[in-house]
């Protein structure tokens, strides 16, 4: 659980993105794309899920990427190499189904880009034609562009404010690509609003769409139901049934609301966090 390496990927005010490489040989040996870990930064901390971005079996390390948004991620950001996490458990969740689909589009928004990286890498190795669409609010917040280029056949980038590459949203490019050619899979990770839009776009083109959800979790082994989400009228637990689901069947409005359940408390504790 010791931090081997810390790297700041983006240092934009109010949106710092950090990569941690953490020693955990047992998790590294088992981790597959799409799986996640749950960690606690400190003993009194929360249990938060983070996708495993990379796993190095030889070095016995895993990499995690996060944006400082709440108290836990701020505390994580304060850790340095040689520091240890209080708790780290995984790998959890179902891995991505990696196989030869044919032509695949991966859509990553914000830190979601980090989460499509291991999937892109695995799908490329499996012989798929991989197109990646990366979206960020602004140039400084764009991460892993080079890494994605190394595992994709084509990479498209959009920024909300037009400060880099094309101004607009990932779904603009997605729609254009889908109108030109037929694709076999769209895989999206990012803010709920983005995944919801991706699902809305792909529905019109009748293409299989997989999303990886970021529901709130506590134990993340199916024991609490905090992460429950409605998928095609059925209640699923994101932790043990997911985190990936058919994007066309997810009840996005419900997920949006459930993810805001502690908004007041988060504001309160983050105020305290700023005093750190």
């Amino acid at each position: 659980m010791e931090i081997i390496k810390k790297e700041t990927l983006s240092e934009n005010t109010g949106a710092k993105i950090t990569k941690l490489e953490i020693s955990s040989p047992a998790i590294a040996a088992k981790a597959r794309p799409g799986e996640f870990v749950v960690l606690m930064a400190v003993e009194e901390g929360e249990r938060v899920p983070l996708t495993i971005v990379d796993a190095d079996k030889d070095k016995g390390t895993i990499s995690l990427i996060f944006q400082e948004v709440g108290l836990t991620t701020k505390l994580l950001g304060r850790l340095n190499s040689k520091d240890s996490l209080y708790a780290l458990v995984g790998p959890l969740g179902h891995p991505t189904e990696i196989k030869k689909y044919g032509r695949v589009i991966l859509v990553g928004g914000g830190v979601g880009i980090a989460e499509i990286y291991p999937v892109a890498k695995a799908l490329k190795q499996e012989g798929n034609r991989v197109l990646s669409i990366l979206g960020a609010r602004a140039k400084e917040l764009l991460i892993l562009e080079e890494e994605l280029k190394s595992v994709s056949d084509e990479v498209y980038v959009t920024t909300d404010d037009g400060s880099y590459a094309r101004k607009g949203f990932t779904t603009d490019i997605l729609r254009e690509l889908l109108s030109k050619e037929k694709y076999d899979l769209v895989y999206a990770v990012g803010p709920i609003a983005m995944m919801k839009k991706v699902a809305a776009v792909t529905r019109g083109f009748d293409v299989k769409t997989v999303v990886s959800l970021n529901a709130l979790m506590v134990d993340a082994t199916g024991m609490c139901g905090c992460c429950r989400v409605s998928v095609g009228k059925e209640t699923k637990f994101s932790c043990v049934d997911g985190p990936e689901f058919d994007g066309h069947s997810v009840d996005w409005e419900e997920l949006e609301k459930r993810n805001r359940i502690y908004e007041d408390k988060e504001k309160h504790i983050c105020k305290l966090g700023n005093l750190l």
Binding site: M40, A87, G90, G225
Partner: protein, 470 residues
């Protein structure tokens, strides 16, 4: 002249709901002696068969009357490694106290006259704990070369680990959460089982040589085969019934509709009642409603009420149960405590829908009134909803405590492990061995939801079979 049963001291209801301190203070020495002296020392004690682990109750109570508390402690420890825990959480009124000769017969649970065996056990347990009494480890050279993996650190896992290590076997406990204790830690609130008592009993195990690895989900990070290949001779599965049941009605995924497991895990394991010093939040309703009639429902309600009080809200927490008080599976003492604290019990009510506001937070519960029908397979009269009796209750925080199911993280990736239709693990009832040779199981993963002491009873049986197999 018949002597009256001695009641244990309790904190004042109005004071105790302002924090999570232990409610029952336990006996003083005088009280313990007085209660012990009521025991008739029956020739054929009926209490002992009422104990799932068969503690020699007659003997330990006699030792207590002789002020031989050390002897009493060791007598209990012969059969039960966790007297301070069981003395607090055992539903004695359904077990040893119910079969006590002084209890009135024909009731579903013990009457007040029955000896308060659990309080005496607790006194002896706490005596051992305070005086750091140690049960000697049997050094058996033949057994000391063996190694057993115990999966899960709840009542079954802890008990099995204790029994095996006492026999000189090397034991490693694997726990998926970041702290040991299982349901004793995430489920049972500190006001029923203080954390220092739980920590002490667990530390006792560790000090006696039991190793533990937390943050380790067997089935995900290591399979059973991998554990065997690492040299474990046997594996014990105490996985628990950790999956919360829901009602399957409309609006159940609204915000502030919690499973009791989530609510209690946030409060107990993650200490959300200390928010923001502890970082895990939990929402606190102005009108909290708990649905269910078991101990979990009562624990959740009493925790919710305390959170209201701690946060300066007027305590307003209700329990809705579809049958009546007699059919409630909860411990009688807990029902009484909950009532003293101001929990509002509403019987013969069944929710049919949760109604929320625009932001997706629950605001109302739509219910049906019920009446009692014929007894079901559990022997309790079933509840029959009355058509057209719909009504609404205001509630901004709902906790669903309608039972738990088997945890399937391990069984779903271990197809050789045979399970029944409830996903409970099937075992040979004589040995607790599963369909995989050298893999044993006990506790709620075998029998479905039961009590702490029933889980320990199964774990003991398994530990004996494990020792026999080595």
């Amino acid at each position: 002249m018949k002597k009256e049963a001695v009641r244990a001291q309790e904190l004042e209801p109005l004071k105790r709901i302002a924090d999570f301190a232990e409610v029952v203070s336990g006996y003083t020495e005088e009280e313990a002696l007085q209660e012990a002296s009521r025991c008739l020392q029956c020739k054929n004690p009926a209490c002992i068969p009422g104990c799932p682990v068969g503690i020699d109750i007659k003997k330990f109570i006699f030792q207590m009357t002789q002020k031989d508390y050390k002897g009493a402690y060791f007598t209990i420890r012969e059969k039960n490694g966790f007297p301070s825990i069981c003395g607090r959480v055992c539903p004695a009124e359904y077990q040893c106290r119910k079969t006590c000769v002084l209890s009135k017969k024909g009731l579903p649970f013990a009457s007040e006259q029955a000896i308060n065996i659990h309080y005496l056990e607790r006194f002896a347990g706490d005596y051992g704990l305070k005086n750091k009494l140690k049960v000697p480890v049997r050094v058996d050279k033949k057994l000391s070369k063996f190694k057993v993996a115990v999966v899960g650190s709840g009542p079954a896992g802890l008990c099995c680990a204790g029994e095996l290590s006492r026999a000189g076997i090397k034991v490693v406990i694997f726990e998926s959460l970041h702290k040991l204790g299982g349901v004793l830690r995430y489920g049972i609130p500190p006001f029923r089982l203080p954390r220092d008592i739980l920590d002490f009993e667990i530390d006792y195990l560790k000090n006696s040589g039991v190793e533990s690895i937390v943050n380790f989900v067997v089935g995900r990070i290591k399979t059973l085969d991998e554990l065997f290949s690492e040299g474990y001779n046997c594996i014990f599965l105490g996985l628990g019934a950790g999956v919360p049941g829901f009602l399957g009605i409309k609006g159940e995924n609204l915000c502030n509709v919690y499973s009791a497991n989530e609510f209690l895990t946030r409060v107990n394991l993650m200490s959300a009642y200390k928010f923001p010093q502890a970082h895990t939040p939990v929402n606190i309703g102005k009108r909290a409603v708990v649905i269910g009639g078991g101990n979990t429902a009562i624990d959740a309600a009493r925790a919710a009420l305390r959170l209201q009080k701690i946060n300066g809200l007027a305590p307003d927490t209700a329990i809705l149960y579809r049958r009546t008080e007699v059919e409630m599976p909860a411990r009688r003492l807990e029902i009484e405590h909950a009532r003293q604290e101001g929990i509002n019990f509403q019987f013969l009510i069944q929710p049919i829908e949760f109604i929320g506001d625009e932001a997706g937070f629950v605001k109302k519960i739509r219910c049906l009134k019920c009446r009692l029908g014929e007894p079901d397979s559990s022997g309790r009269r079933r509840s029959v909803p009355i058509e057209g009796s719909d009504f609404e209750i205001d509630s901004d925080l709902v906790i669903i405590a309608v039972g738990l199911k088997a945890n399937q993280v391990l069984t779903s990736v271990t197809p050789q492990l045979k399970t029944d239709k409830y996903s409970d693990v099937l075992v040979n009832p004589e040995t607790m061995e599963t369909s995989i040779r050298r893999v044993f199981a006990g506790g709620d993963i075998v029998g479905g939801e039961g009590t702490v002491i029933e889980a320990m009873g199964m774990a003991k049986k398994a530990s004996e079979a494990i020792i026999g197999s080595l």
